[in-house]
């Protein structure tokens, strides 16, 4: 346990000692700020009809949200194992009393903590809305739950990619290549006539997940998805690290 904690804190420190955390944070805030401004401007227009859950639009109902997510999660995870392999620090790490699984979990938790931290400033948007009108906090909490769930899923995919290669660039590209289908398969739902297949794709439709959560609908099936998905990818990452098919 102390080995996990030691590795987790070391990773977090490394994030904040490099420009990466700040760059990603700035990018995320820039895009989110823009989205928030558009939403407020839109809902303030009498023709829009307003909304009972204004932040629903913010939680995943614009393409910006997804584009940013698809970009920042590979950047957060790409370094984690690839860099240790490239530089050789993996050798002293994996000969220390820590298992491969613990290494993967520690690094994943560090990435997840950074990711969660990046969203903290956006709480201000809810605060601003609450100042000018009433905010139903249930859907807001559910929306953030969705952000954390999808983040966990995406970051775990990134962990698998970074465990597979010693190149950060390839790790990022590989993550992106896996995330794009993971995200867009669900969107094919509307193009499918076969009932069973449509239900499967509907289950995977992340856009719809966020829509429901943003409206305050918490479906346990979604939560199971956000727990089992990361568990699967972290398990695969652990296996990839354990076989050590490198010289």
């Amino acid at each position: 346990m102390s080995a996990i904690w030691a590795t987790l804190t070391r990773e977090l420190r490394a994030y904040f000692l490099s420009p990466l955390a700040y760059t990603v944070s700035a990018l995320l805030l820039l895009v989110n700020g823009f989205v928030f401004w558009i939403i407020v401007a839109f809902l303030n227009d009498p023709r829009s009809g307003g909304s009972a859950t204004p932040l629903d639009l913010f939680f995943g109902q614009t393409l910006f949200f997804w584009l940013v997510l698809l970009f920042i999660t590979p950047i957060i995870t790409m370094r984690l194992i690839s860099e240790e392999r490239r530089s050789g620090t993996i050798e002293t790490l994996l000969t220390a009393p820590i298992t491969e699984g613990q290494v993967v979990v520690a690094k994943f938790l560090a990435a997840f903590a950074l990711y969660a931290f990046l969203w903290v400033p956006t709480l201000a948007y809810a605060g601003i809305l609450a100042y000018y009108s009433d905010v139903d906090w249930g859907p807001v909490a559910a929306g953030y739950l969705g952000i954390l769930g999808i983040g966990a899923l995406f970051l775990s995919v990134g962990m698998l990619a970074t465990a597979l290669t010693r190149s950060q660039l390839i790790a990022a590209l590989l993550t992106f290549a896996m995330l794009v289908p993971l995200f867009s398969f669900g969107l094919l739902e509307m193009l499918i006539n076969d009932e069973t297949l449509r239900q499967v794709l509907g289950y995977l439709n992340l856009w719809q997940h966020m829509d429901e959560l943003g409206k305050g609908v918490v479906d346990t099936r979604r939560l199971v998805y956000y727990l089992t998905g990361p568990a699967l990818f972290l398990f695969l990452a652990t296996r990839a690290l354990a076989v050590r098919r490198w010289r």
């Binding site: 080995a3 070391r10 490394a14 530089s87 050789g88 620090t89 002293t92 000969t95 220390a96």
Partner: protein, 323 residues
């Protein structure tokens, strides 16, 4: 302390390490000696648990390295061939991280870190960022990482490679000090290092252990027949023939102003040669037995296969060492 049984590692068709077995006893310093590419690093990496072997078993301090890895690794301190560190951390920060990774309690770490910094002569750079350290200091930080948690077994892969002579002396001194208290397996291709530091040597070539013993016993066993260097002043040109007629001399070759005299097994014709020189009124400038160094043993053993092309006239040793 370390027991390796039938360790093999294959990469596709290439066998880097081929069924080697060895053990390192408590308190021993054992050297792995071999040319570059002999399989030393692969063997070391399997012994430290970094590389899973294709077949075979390793026990460290009585624990199976691949069935009980965490407990076994706790007893192990490892200095890899390429010391890699996190460049953004400070030296003391890094050691504090390693202490927690090794599961040391805060109070134990508070004592161990300054002690290790002192042992490795790192006190002056403890606040420095690792990325700004010179190679020699980084090597010492690597060494500090290996000994910080006071493991029973130390494994060092080429600990002095890439250092300047002064640093080499300092590191060897430290290794010698550590070796008095702990079990140490050391790999190197530098021969004086082995002669200087090790109780026992294993010569590894093409993935196999081809010889094993104390540095002295290896020299004894592989020394071949004695060879003398004789330099005479005032000797006539036919002195070589005269020397060849001395009992116990097998062959004489001129070597610049001197002669290289090869002797029959077990023979020591130095006295006869001296008497001959006195009788002929030659002044003996040099009459010395050429000692077999570990280096000769090493070169003979590791060039056996390619020896046919490499052997020069008068160098038939390639055949003799087959036994």
């Amino acid at each position: 302390m370390i027991e390796a049984q039938n360790l093999s590692r294959r990469y596709g068709d290439f066998t880097a390490v081929d069924r080697i077995s060895f053990s390192v006893n408590d308190g021993e310093i054992v050297g792995f000696l071999g040319p570059n590419g002999a399989g030393k690093t692969t063997a070391i990496r399997m012994v430290t648990g970094f590389l899973p072997p294709t077949s075979g078993r390793v026990r460290v301090a009585g624990r199976n390295l691949f069935e009980d890895p965490v407990a076994a690794r706790r007893e192990l301190g490892y200095l890899p061939e390429h010391v890699a560190l996190y460049p953004e951390m400070r030296v003391n920060e890094y050691l504090a991280y390693r202490a927690r990774l090794e599961g040391m309690s805060a109070s134990v770490a508070r004592e161990a870190i300054p002690e290790t910094l002192a042992d490795c002569l790192l006190e002056s750079v403890r606040e420095q960022i690792i990325g700004t350290l010179s190679k020699g200091y980084r090597q010492r930080v690597g060494l500090a990482t290996a000994i910080l948690h006071r493991p029973k077994v130390l494994v060092f892969d080429e600990p002095t490679v890439g250092l300047d002579p002064k640093q080499i002396i300092a590191i060897r001194e430290l290794i010698r000090k550590l070796g008095r208290q702990r079990t140490l397996l050391l790999s190197t291709h530098i021969l004086p290092e082995v002669e200087l530091l090790c109780d026992r040597v294993m010569i590894i070539d093409k993935g196999r252990i081809i010889a094993e013993g104390t540095p002295q016993s290896l020299q004894e066993r592989w020394k071949g027949d004695a060879e003398l260097r004789v330099e005479l002043k005032g000797a006539s040109p036919e002195a070589g023939e005269a020397l060849a007629s001395v009992p116990g001399v097998v062959r004489v070759d001129a070597e610049g102003p001197a002669f290289r005299v090869r002797c029959a097994p077990g023979a020591d014709p130095r006295e006869e040669i001296f008497r001959l020189a006195v009788a002929r009124d030659w002044v003996v400038l040099e009459l010395a037995e050429r000692r077999t160094s570990l280096e000769d043993v090493f070169v003979r053993l590791t060039t056996r296969d390619s020896g046919k092309e490499a052997s020069s006239p008068g160098d038939e040793s390639a055949e003799e060492v087959q036994g």
